[in-house]
Symmetry: C2
Subunit: 331 residues, 2 copies
């Protein structure tokens, strides 16, 4: 019975799990009291939360416990760095059925610990409860280090649009897993463990980014948030979207005709979800480091005749069709 | 179909819900960006998280959506004030089946909003996802206002033990609901909507409390945490535990024999869960305001012969039996 979390018991499991988390300079008080205390030297705390539900956000058949731990941390700290902040602390709520193997909880913990080490933040607290559905609630905190936050509403006509990180690989990985096809490790791996470019968030803030976000619902749809909130139009240059070789390979494996591979890959770069790349808008004069890919420009919402046509995202001048991800969608 | 959250859709629901939350001076950036920004004027942020799972932490038959909203906020801000901090901001993850009525989500939101107004903190962000099990993840943040946090490990021999808030009423309310018996509104109400004494947390810190915690797993068990972490013994005076008249009434309704009512009520005060009273330890010379009930004293772990017997909680000098709450317990 000690091999399931129900057999081991809540307090023993908490003790085992929390002993895995090293402190950092940001941890003033870690797990074990009513609440944790995290440094906020800037005088402001950046905070974001996400829920991961088994069967909807991950499947135990497709992702190891360690993958899920990595991903739970990655998608939350990606939101922190997308404000231009440095990850500091994290709280994890863990709702699980009593028959969950202790080994799963321990591997998940190892994934959380290792991804926190990559991102630079610590686990400072959490909660463990029983539930019929394995559900993970993550809250991530960050520090702005004295900088202004990079919001979604600051893009201005004349700015350039760039991204860093991977686009399309995660969606290709998901498509391969759904069809039970083995494919490029870069695609499967990116779906199981996204790799947000953590350092690029504070970097973009230092470079003077006027708007930024974490790409999670698809590049086009997320740029639509910047366009709408900033009151601008964004036009992407499809030739500047250079698909990763692994993405092109995945398209072939998924049965895309030879002449259509590039187009299909670009489609996934524009519409695939869960990329956790960073999309940012910069003043045109900023000298961008090489890992930022310039892919578009910002214009006013007025058309050449002067009429205001409203915020929009276009690709090579054409309005891109909609299509987002609705978590409550009934299929 | 618009009467269910699946029909209404995620984005429309988020818009409807977030429009309900007023800002406060602590909200630097509210919902709608990658992350929220909350003031942390002290340079440290207090943070705690809790999961509420339908069927385990609340039942839709027993508690209204509004009650659940109140409770989700109350149990988290109770942990914040138990550190001696002032509530500032809160993030709410909401995982729900698509057939959840929109009205339930809206009433829940109203409860959250109203309890936040009582506690003094704001809702600054959240997440909404689909799940077969209605699950609410709350993270609460607070500011220490320059004071040292009141932890669990600072109690010293000679200190006095006190509590403020209600003990036993919530457990009596639960017992009544489980048996389908109507009973005192104070008991049913305290189970559905606990009323933590928010202001008393920072007050205790200002008065010099050496240890404090939120009573959630039962007064005895929670005092055991202070005893263990502080390396002390705590002795409670049962005569100082004065049951609320509603608690005595509930004991009668639950069939306790007339001569046993006081004893049964005290038992619930010592062992009932989900009270969300505050238990604190103060230096003996502190002049405690009337709403703090002195109920015990702190002694060293050495017995009269000088032998160290280890931390313990006793009632009238006798070791109290154990019995806690394990969330993964298989019944």
């Amino acid at each position: 019975m000690l091999s399931t979390i129900g057999g081991l018991g809540e307090f023993a499991l908490i003790t085992r799990v929390t002993s895995q988390f090293p402190g950092t300079d940001d941890v003033i008080l870690g797990p074990g009291d009513d609440a944790a205390i995290v440094a906020a030297p800037d005088g402001r705390t950046v905070a974001t939360t996400d829920l991961l539900v088994e069967g909807r956000h991950f499947k135990r058949e497709w992702s190891s416990a360690r993958d899920v731990g990595h991903r739970a941390v990655a998608q939350n700290y990606a939101d922190v760095v997308a404000m231009g902040a440095r990850p500091t602390g994290m709280l994890i709520g863990f709702a699980a059925p009593p028959d969950l193997p202790v080994a799963w909880a321990e591997e998940f913990t190892a994934g959380v610990r290792d991804e926190c080490a990559l991102a630079g933040g610590a686990v400072v607290g959490g909660d463990m409860v029983g539930s019929d559905v394995l559900t993970i609630a993550v809250t991530a905190l960050g520090d702005l280090e004295g900088r202004a936050p990079v919001r979604r509403d600051g893009a201005r006509p004349g700015d350039v649009v760039a991204y860093t990180g991977n686009l399309g690989l995660s969606a290709a990985g998901l498509a391969l897993l759904e069809r039970g096809i083995d494919g490029p490790a870069a695609c499967l791996g990116e779906h199981r463990r996204p790799s947000p470019p953590y350092a690029a968030g504070p970097e973009a803030a230092r470079l003077g980014a006027t708007a930024m976000l974490d790409v999670s619902d698809g590049f086009l749809q997320d740029l639509g948030h910047i366009a709408a909130r900033s009151g601008v139009c964004i036009d992407l240059d499809s030739n500047a979207l250079r698909p990763d070789p692994a993405l092109l390979e995945a398209m072939g494996i998924l049965g895309v005709a030879a002449g259509k591979v590039e187009e299909a890959a670009r489609r996934l770069m524009l519409r695939g979800g869960e990329d956790h790349a960073l999309a940012a808008v910069f003043p045109s004069e900023v000298d961008l480091p090489e890992h930022w890919n310039r892919v578009g420009t910002v214009a006013s919402t007025a058309d050449p005749s002067g009429e205001d046509t409203g915020p929009a995202v276009t690709v090579d001048g054409d309005v891109a069709e909609g299509g987002g991800w609705d978590h409550f969608r009934q299929e």
